[in-house]
Symmetry: C2
Subunit: 244 residues, 2 copies
């Protein structure tokens, strides 16, 4: 079964550089803190086909899917419809949500405003005190608003309901070029298949190391063992430091 | 035929928040300036299957595909292999590139270093003065390095070779809530199918408008006509300003 999370950021405004992308960057940081591995992040235009495709792919690789944007009353707000298509469900008007939408807008309610009461069939409403509109949740897909201030608040509404586990990480700074140590890094990666090992060459001037190697896993003892193995294989005079 | 561009950002370091994503954000800005529409941006881990899938999808929706990262000598550098798989081509050692790799590393060359001479069969080398390693280009896929300084330089190497056309944009600030004007915006979008119309509610305090409407197209006269239509349909006292 797929685990972890995937994100689908919906918005022409991001792809056309009218708005700087913030929600993906925030989600990446926040999921890391929460110990939820992120498998995939896609930014797509406000087009039903593109969203359906991205949500389907996201569901294939991850247990939880977060969408950002395309929730609202205008013609470019097509997320609910696209998620419903990706899930093979109808779009229905949610009676309880309709009441809330009517109460919220009162006399200012327009036919377009009522689109806010539409959900993929079977969707749950995740509520948070102080925010009138809920997060729509359906089959592991959480539909978050695109406005960054609201996205952040509603991401917490979802995360508070997910089981979270931390990830353990060590970083080794090495004073050798990446090709010189690539063989050693390969051997450690091969010996510890459950450990994620990354190798990142550094090109800033004035650093005392040329490569950073990251070692991470869901269990601390695996990180310890892989780090010890790496240190044993590297030339001792090239290891600058080990960071926890 | 597909037009525009798509991006595949490769890197566990981005998805796990060890490195802040820079290349996607830069690419979005730079393509906008160059008038190349961006259709899709995906961030995937350093895994062959995930990259193959993302590159295949990118090629289905866009004429040009930019990959970022996974070019190098270590075990997590799998971009060349994945792009070759997505294109149905073999990975081969490029004789000219091999000479250059040998010349660059000299006695420090390792077997892993020679991986830098491998390319999808039929790849072209796009060169730039002052950078020893070229951009690999194959069937519309441009394989750029993940290190941000190098990514930016090599993106220019590619863009200098692409035909570019500008996009025209106007923005209208409106002092009405999004549901109140959604019907009008829908009508304009329907009347001008070649014009991209976006509606973005603003939630910052102290603004004199509640919604920004963007109107863009490849031809200036289309933008003019759609803007005039929108202004004719909106209540005049709610239009705060029109920005070119």
């Amino acid at each position: 079964m797929a685990t972890g999370a995937a994100a689908v950021i919906i918005g022409n405004e991001v792809l056309t550089a009218k708005v700087e992308e913030q929600n993906g960057a925030f989600l990446i940081q926040r999921l890391r803190q929460a110990g939820v591995p992120l498998r995939l992040l896609t930014i797509v235009p406000d087009e039903v086909d593109a969203i359906v495709e991205a949500v389907s792919r996201a569901r294939a690789v991850a247990q939880y899917v977060f969408t950002s944007g395309g929730i609202g009353p205008t013609h470019d707000d097509v997320t609910v419809r696209a998620v419903a298509l990706a899930l093979g469900r109808a779009v229905v008007r949610h009676p309880e949500l309709e009441q809330e939408v009517r109460a919220y807008f009162g006399e200012r309610l327009t036919p377009q405003g009522l689109r806010l009461a539409e959900v993929p069939e079977g969707a749950e409403l995740l509520r948070r005190e102080g925010v009138w509109y809920p997060v729509l949740s359906c089959a592991g897909v959480f539909m978050l608003p695109g406005v960054p201030q609201l996205f952040r608040i509603q991401l917490e509404t979802v995360l508070a309901r997910l089981p979270c586990s931390p990830v353990f990480l060590k970083t080794v700074h090495v004073a050798a070029s990446e090709p010189e140590i690539a063989g050693v890094v390969d051997q450690v990666a091969l010996a510890f298949p459950e450990v994620g090992i990354g190798s990142y060459p550094q090109f800033e001037r004035g650093l005392d190391h040329k490569v950073r190697i990251t070692i991470e896993a869901a269990r601390a003892e695996l990180v310890e063992a892989a780090t010890a193995d790496l240190l044993a294989r590297l030339p001792a005079d090239r290891v600058v430091r080990v960071l926890a």
